[in-house]
Symmetry: C2
Subunit: 455 residues, 2 copies
């Protein structure tokens, strides 16, 4: 066991930022406490594969304490942070049984990540779950596979068509990956499973408010991705803002005011993010301000103004308009940990510089788009790069082997291993129980000028 | 696609009985409809491995329609059966969205299985979940791994000890396997994961009302299993009836009236079963009677008196006092399907004869007890037999490969891959939220003579 020093580092959140910070401090003369409200580290970039039946929970969400088991100077605690006392250098939290607990620190690193944002339309959430947590993904898995179940036992052709229509809102990487996977699932993953419907009849619609999907990848890759999606059978509708969501469909509005309604039972929200409430709590405690997405404005070294011992990292920090991707979280986490270490060694801290290692998104099996230092790859080459990178970063040797096995089945044999619908994540529990029967007849959007500013 | 005949077979329930009946009818000139309220077939004998983090949901619960995808004469519908109209030969059901649906039949095979029974003490259920469904197992997984999380962040030694005490009620195969796995988990599966507790300090107590555990296996194997459990650190308390269960402990009463209380946060109920409510519904519809466990009394050919076209199979049929094991369900399912087939070919139906292929239970890794046609094996030899049989019967090639991989990690490396605690199955949600604070001081059982007849 490494000798512990008196310097106490508290890390709030074990996402990519917090986890990499904790790992970086392995041989530093500090004692580290990682506090997270969940017991798992979520490999967010593969969450869509949990939602579409490819990977299991354990593969995308290894236990935090197991990932850090060889880090003798790290203690992991499962608790939800409730406040920051920056003057007293103490974090307060609540354990799962409701009892309070607090953690004194000398350095504090906060990486609370981001939650789904419905741009002021939180009423959409129950009809169109987001894609941020394991529970979200299991809920979506239940709804996606449940929709095929419902279609199979549905006699009315219109209702059946509605059960077989899937609308994904948001054309970023998560939305594109989800739309592509639902399309592939319907084209090959369910072969032979149904008698009364043909799952290939499923329609997948990808809606985005901007002029193109995967805007961050540039025009050429964006167009290639759109073409590949269309080849899979996904309808890409860009320039369309979602103005309404209910149990039976989605209302969209074009920029010229044209309105349309897509009848569909399954809606997925992959459109917007807002920083974790921890950012607001930190801002209030420190006097720092937050940006429009709720991210806390930090100094160039990721610390809070007036509090060089407090770092905000990853998706919840506002700095140089950096994107909300895993790479930024990892690098800012390492930067914060390194700053703590440098100070202990009497060295000057440096500003955070982000090295853009590129971004990638899988559109379908054997097809990904990759943007890397000016190099732009797509198709099979892009997919191979995706495979190598994700296998490298996937946490733990076991998860790599078992994910590879699941990928082999999915990508080569076209089948899906994880399709359980549990009672707690059961089909239609929310989507249907909440819908008034009178809504059933609704197929044209009601004129409702009050809801135009959705994505 | 096989030619469908006019003879319609409806199979209710896709457990071992229903699934084997459907499979047996593959080349028969009948059209089969399988109706189940869930989308998965549950491999019940391995459910304890889901609860203890070894296997994933998909491995123990493959989708029914995927298992039957090559059976062209089988349609699968996800719906909950609500009634039997035996005169009109029609089964009524409700789909997940609440709409009604019904299925006309010429032959009906009902295999509704069994639910947990608390012997009249249903109030125990929220403190001591059963082990019958995927949701049960996920709830238990959250409670088991959550208890270690709570212990790690607990300062009070008495409370910590209570979080590290696990009581399993019921010394049948499920109870023994669970107790053994929790003990192994604490001894090797969590190595290096904790800083403030030693998971090896966990106490596992197996409580049974009878004179010995695994009574069905005979004295010698029963004693071997008990010795192996004790070696693992499990305390076996036979001859003890559970007279009370609350958030903080279990009250037990010996046959001589001596009482004791075991302070523990995590309780698991693996003690009793009651037939599915479908048995009672069938009995009411047909005029047949049920036994003490709610099982419907069938004729020697598994049909209902006066209804040769209606079969009850598996755990919900009362016949010759057959045990509630997978083998009985499979064989009676095949018998029912075969009877349907023989009649169509003009042959006389025969009575059901059960061939006892033996039983087995794993006590720990590399140690199982096996009773097979008078041969009784235990230890490593028994475990090898367990491995071969379970790999053979595990549904689907993919699940065999991936379960083997997970078993290799667990049994050779001692680690657990599936430990996610979801919000919906979160630690202490029920166990704690419901407990009044005044209960906290309770460590001796209150004199309450009204609750003596628990298991």
């Amino acid at each position: 066991m490494a000798a512990r020093s008196d310097h106490r580092v508290v890390i709030v959140g074990a996402g990519f930022g917090g986890l990499f910070a904790a790992k970086f401090l392995r041989r530093a003369p500090v004692s580290v406490t990682v506090v997270d409200r969940r017991n798992y580290h979520l490999f967010q970039p593969l969450l869509y594969q949990l939602a579409t039946g490819i990977l299991s929970q354990g593969e995308v969400a290894p236990p935090i304490r197991d990932v850090l088991r060889k880090h003798a100077n790290v203690t992991v605690e499962m608790a939800t942070v409730t406040g920051f006392d920056l003057a007293g250098r103490r974090v307060t939290a609540i354990r799962p049984d409701g009892t309070e607990r607090s953690y004194g620190y000398d350095s504090l690193i906060v990486g609370g990540g981001a939650d789904q944002s419905y741009f002021g339309h939180d009423e959409f959430a129950r009809f169109a779950p987001g894609m941020k947590t394991i529970d979200d993904a299991l809920e979506l898995r239940g709804r996606i596979f449940g929709a095929f179940e419902m279609a199979e036992s549905e006699d009315d052709p219109e209702a059946r068509r509605s059960w077989l229509t899937f609308v994904v809102v948001g054309g970023g990487a998560t939305g594109v990956e989800l739309a592509g996977q639902i399309a592939e699932l319907s084209r090959s993953g369910l072969a032979g499973n149904f008698r009364r419907i043909d799952p290939k009849d499923a329609r997948v619609v990808l809606v985005d408010g901007g002029p193109e999907i995967l805007a961050a990848f540039g025009d050429r890759l964006s167009q290639k991705a759109a073409r590949e999606l269309e080849r899979l059978g996904v309808t890409v509708r860009t320039g369309m803002v979602v103005s309404g969501v209910d149990a039976f469909g989605v209302d969209v509005t074009a920029h010229d005011g044209t309105r349309d309604r897509i009848a569909c039972r399954t809606k997925i929200w992959a459109a917007g993010v807002a920083a974790s409430p921890l950012a607001g709590m930190l801002a209030e405690a420190s006097g720092a301000s937050c940006d429009r997405s709720g991210r806390i404005k930090v100094l160039p070294d990721c610390t809070l103004p007036g509090h060089p011992e407090v770092f905000a990292i990853g998706d919840m920090m506002a700095l140089d308009d950096l994107p909300g991707v895993a790479e930024v979280a990892m690098q800012s986490g390492i930067h914060a940990a390194n700053t703590v270490k440098r100070r202990l060694h009497g060295k000057d801290p440096a500003d955070f510089t982000y090295r853009d290692l590129g971004s990638m998104a899988t559109v379908s099996r054997f097809h990904a788009v990759v943007s890397f230092k000016g190099i732009r790859a797509s198709g099979f080459l892009g997919w191979l790069m995706w495979l190598v990178v994700h296998l490298t970063f996937l946490t733990g040797f076991k998860n790599r082997i078992s994910a590879l096995l699941h990928w082999a089945w999915t990508f080569l044999a076209g089948s899906r291993a994880e399709r359980t619908i549990t009672v707690r994540q059961a089909v239609g529990r929310v989507a249907l129980a909440d819908a008034g029967a009178d809504d059933l007849s609704r197929s044209v959007p009601a004129a409702d000028p009050g809801e135009e500013d959705g994505r």
